[in-house]
Amino acid sequence: MFNRVLAIALNTFRESIRDRILFVVAVFALFIIGSSLFLGSISLDQDIKIIKDFGLTAIFLLQIFIIIFVGANLIYKEVERKTFFLILSKPIKKSEVIMGKWLGLSLTIFLMTALTSLMFFGVLFIKIGTLNGIPYLILAILLGFIEATLIIMISILFSGFTSPILSSVYTVSLFLIGHSSSVVLGIIDRQDNVIIKYIFSVLYYIFPNLEKFNIRNDVLYNSIPVFQTLALTVVYALAYGAALFLIAKFIFDRREY
């Protein structure tokens, strides 16, 4: 089973690495990181904070843009180009294809994250001359990467039954909703109507709470979440990811080609 997943993953990795959009996005991220040096220099005693802020944001945007522009096409292109006809007639399960696609794009994002992070740390080292605080930045980047892997699964799920444009729209919508969980909680707290309160509570638990993975601000102000909170966040990602995988599997199993 793992061999087949790995074969799909490596092919997906190869496909995304050879996609020109990937390089446009990577250059954009590197430009933001590079420009943070200049912006930091014209700010008043905030240069290090600005470099860190820009660096973390650029890396996070890089991850999200790769998912939106490359991930949304993943399954749709296979159906459109009829490459699925070849693959699914071989001894491979649809669940293995989903897993392989997820792993392949995760690998691409990991590589691009590692490369941009190295530049980010380089810029930071040039500015402050020490590696102090970098482990916390790595932690924030890693949590962002875990969030990205969750969004990849969301993107794969949508690309299984909609066009790439709609898949991108749905993925971005879910991404924005996922980062607005505190707004939903606020609505629940302020509501007197029990039915509306109940509906929003259900929505709060159905939609992914992506703010759990955002410790970028905490890291900037040296406020690091405790280990237990971080461990629970990882468990949450695993559970939510498994649920998404099962839904995607259900959709793909019912589909005929």
Partner: protein, 228 residues
């Protein structure tokens, strides 16, 4: 036990407003080692039948068996080869990379994979172009690569959808030669085509389908003599 059994198979596609039956009460049996030509005009139901036989789509009613099992059984998929109509590939891969990817899905060992790929590339006359990206292949080269990928697992049963389509006369002759070689190796071949002359030299028996209905089945000579 027949290699391929199709019994009373119906395939209907349902839309929101209407439905269309593309295969209607189709029954065919193909024996082991037999080369069966499935002829019919475009849109007759040949490709849908083949998609059901390789487990890509399910029949609305009726039963299909390949090597005694349901077509979507993993054990069956290990023993079959399928070449879709106008094969689609990952254009960013080279011919060799593509075959290597397919071999990985079948779990071929590294040594066996290398040996098998080189042998197939020679057989379909693509060895010289093995490192060229598929996007630069001609249609005929694509068809030959499609045939090579269908043979990577040394299948017992081969499903070929219009395998000679797009080939120039030289390519047709080479592909026919390869199919005759496979016939001699006692492979069961289920072969879709809309050109009678394509099946003349290769097939033991021929079935003719039109608008989803099987019109005739028998030897090619018998069908030529039959009025329908």
């Amino acid at each position: 036990m027949s290699a391929i059994e199709i019994k009373e198979v119906v395939k209907t596609y349902f839309n929101r407003r209407d439905s269309s039956t593309v295969v209607d009460k189709l029954s065919i049996g193909v024996e082991r080692g037999e080369v069966f030509g499935f002829l019919g005009p475009n849109g007759a139901g040949k490709t849908t039948t083949m998609k059901m036989l390789v487990g890509l789509t399910r029949p609305t009613s009726g039963a299909l068996k390949v090597l005694g099992e349901k077509p979507d059984a993993p054990e069956v998929k290990k023993k079959i080869g399928f070449m879709p109509e106008s094969s689609s590939f990952y254009l960013y891969l080279s011919g060799k990379e593509f075959l290597s990817f397919i071999a990985d899905i079948f779990g071929l060992s590294k040594d066996k994979k290398e040996e098998k790929i080189n042998k197939l590339l020679h057989e379909v006359n693509l060895y010289e172009a093995r490192d060229v990206q598929i996007r630069k292949y001609s249609k005929g080269m694509g068809q030959r690569l499609g045939l090579a990928q269908a043979l990577i697992n040394d299948p017992e049963v081969l499903f070929l959808d219009e395998p000679l389509d797009g080939l120039d006369p030289m390519g047709r002759a080479e592909a026919k030669e390869l199919l005759i070689k496979l016939k001699k190796a006692e492979k069961t071949i289920f072969f879709n085509s809309h050109i009678l002359s394509d099946v003349e030299d290769i097939c033991d028996r021929v079935g003719i389908i039109d608008k989803g209905h099987l019109i005739a089945v028998g030897t090619e000579q018998l069908i030529c003599l039959t009025e329908f």
